[in-house]
């Protein structure tokens, strides 16, 4: 019940597919309360991740995560690039030298990712951003990990929680990111970044570890 480097790579490949398949949904969500590029941004970013992972053949989970981070930072632009980039960078740091990740480690990585995003973007919960999905995901992951669940179970509970965290952004009035320019008119729409968090976690959960 641990997650190897190959699993992390497979998880990232699943994320690449998930982002591409859901590109149009992300575009539509961002069009409603942003500038409509979030699907493009994520797709461009994860295609770069895909390419880099092939070129680099990283040898540890941390190396996979770091390659992911730098690929995102140097290809996405927009708000999502530095934020997801920082998230993966912090997760890489948290992974350290480990060769495999157990459930607790996965939860710790997610916590580190969340800390990175909030340090960078200064968004709080309720600001209608990716933080709203990520924060509840981290809490669910920690709860599940505490129960001794393996990495895949931890990711599954994180993904499910992220779904509801994302859904909960719908009624909110945005206070960060582009949607904040809309004021009250941002209410009634799902935050695209929060949706991306859920998408990524679901992709990771499907392939992210030994069952």
């Amino acid at each position: 019940m641990v997650c190897t480097t190959q699993h992390v790579i497979a998880a990232m490949r699943a994320a690449v597919r998930a982002v591409s398949e859901n590109r149009d949904e992300l575009v539509e969500l961002d069009r409603a309360i942003g500038d409509g590029d979030h699907g493009e941004n994520m797709e461009r970013g994860f295609l770069a991740v895909d390419t880099q992972l092939r070129l680099v053949s990283p040898g540890t989970p941390a190396a996979v995560l770091k390659t992911t981070a730098t690929s995102l930072i140097s290809s996405v632009g927009g708000a999502a690039g530095p934020l997801f980039g920082t998230a993966f960078l912090r997760a890489a740091t948290a992974a350290g030298e480990r060769e495999t990740l157990d459930g607790a480690a996965v939860a710790a990585l997610l916590r580190a990712a969340l800390d990175g995003v909030t340090a960078r973007g200064r968004a709080e919960r309720g600001d209608k951003t990716m933080v709203d999905a990520l924060a509840v995901a981290v809490e669910a992951a920690e709860r599940t990990a505490d129960e001794g669940t393996g990495p895949i179970g931890v990711l599954r509970s994180a993904a499910t929680a992220a779904d509801s965290g994302a859904r909960e952004t719908i009624p909110l009035v945005a206070r960060k990111g582009r949607a904040s320019y809309l004021g009250e008119r941002s209410a009634g729409h799902l935050d695209p970044g929060a949706r991306s968090v859920a998408l990524l976690l679901h992709a990771f959960a499907e392939t992210g570890g030994d069952r």
């Binding site: 500038d35 590029d37 632009g77 904040s180």
Partner: protein
């Protein structure tokens, strides 16, 4: 989608190639990563002024590269901030040893990417400072939100600080002057139609025949409120009043009035609106001593306009009047 383009994925680079062909004397254009520098870059011992941001706002920023304005501009994909490495590479080419001032429009993406770029540049021992433009009064000014967008004021700042740098002022001075411009400039915009991002293929929002969007941004994001179309008098008043109240601009103040087209507004309509704004300002005793009228901060083929007021003092006026030679602004 009706556009004069080849592959939508290549629009930014294809347009840069055209710019390079059109302005061989002024610009030096690179496409991977995409950025533009003055043809005589780096200028020894001059502070380098570097800006950038999503494409689709042309001539901002690439059209303002040249003598007396930007040393380099880094265009991202359409409506998307460039990445840190692109900015880093541009600064490397532009910096002449006296440090670099980054001009950033206040959008989360731009701020974060330029922040990272600044760190990368600093690590290479280049002195770097950043000024963030946040002049759009349509957005509530608040510290617990993303805050105001950077719009029309950016051009005025780039022109004025470009002149300061050209005069040989040091980085601290350029930065301080840039802050002063940023603090004294306010804008507001209106859209009559939406732009269409090339790779999306559909307009960013839909406006009915008799609607307009007040407090619009420049990225196809909807504005503050949607109201019925009004006369030019009504439109100009809706833009000018919140701008005036915000700083506030007072009787006797000397100002630069910048009447900007969002892209597809005919020049005649723009002049017409400019004339109304001048009259309204005169009625309040605000003295317009400098003006700029044209499509300078656009949003692809969006129809609409923005008004920008900059409170002038003698120094800013002198810097504004200094010569400039770029593809989009020359005197």
């Amino acid at each position: 989608m009706k556009k004069i383009i080849n592959d939508p994925a290549d629009v930014v680079v294809d347009a840069l190639r055209g710019m390079a062909a059109a302005h061989p004397d002024l610009l030096w254009v690179r496409t991977d990563p995409a950025f533009v520098t003055r043809s005589d870059s780096p200028v020894r011992d001059k502070v380098a002024l570097v800006s950038g941001g999503g494409s689709g706002h042309e001539p901002l920023h690439v059209g303002f590269v040249g003598t007396g304005m930007l040393d380099a501009a880094v265009p991202g994909p359409v409506f998307t901030s460039p990445t840190p490495d692109a900015v880093q590479t541009a600064v490397r080419e532009a910096d002449g040893g006296a440090g670099t001032l980054l001009v950033v429009k206040n959008y989360t993406g731009d701020v974060l990417n330029f922040e990272t770029a600044a760190e990368l540049v600093q690590a290479e021992d280049v002195g770097v400072r950043t000024v963030v433009v946040r002049d759009d009064v349509a957005v509530r000014d608040s510290t617990d939100t993303a805050g105001r967008r950077g719009v029309g004021g950016t051009v005025l700042l780039e022109k004025i600080i470009g002149a300061a740098a050209e005069r040989g002022r040091d980085l601290a001075d350029c930065h301080a002057t840039a802050q002063r411009v940023a603090e004294n400039v306010r804008s507001m915009g209106v859209a009559l139609s939406a732009p269409t991002v090339p790779h999306l293929g559909e307009p960013s929002f839909t406006l009915a025949e008799e609607e307009m969007e007040i407090g619009i941004g420049i990225h196809g994001e909807p504005g503050r409120e949607r109201v019925g179309l009004e006369s030019a008098d009504g439109i100009v008043r809706r833009l000018l009043e919140p701008v005036l109240e915000d700083l506030p601009f007072r009787e006797g103040d000397q100002v630069l009035l910048f009447t900007n087209s969002m892209g597809a507004t005919p020049l005649s309509e723009l002049y017409l609106a400019h004339g109304i704004a001048e009259r309204m300002l005169a009625d309040r005793g605000v003295r317009v001593t400098r003006r700029l009228v044209g499509p300078y901060v656009t949003s692809l083929e969006m129809r609409g306009m923005s008004l920008t007021l900059l409170k002038l003092d003698e120094e800013l006026t002198r810097l504004w009047d200094d010569p400039v030679r770029t593809p989009a602004l020359t005197w």
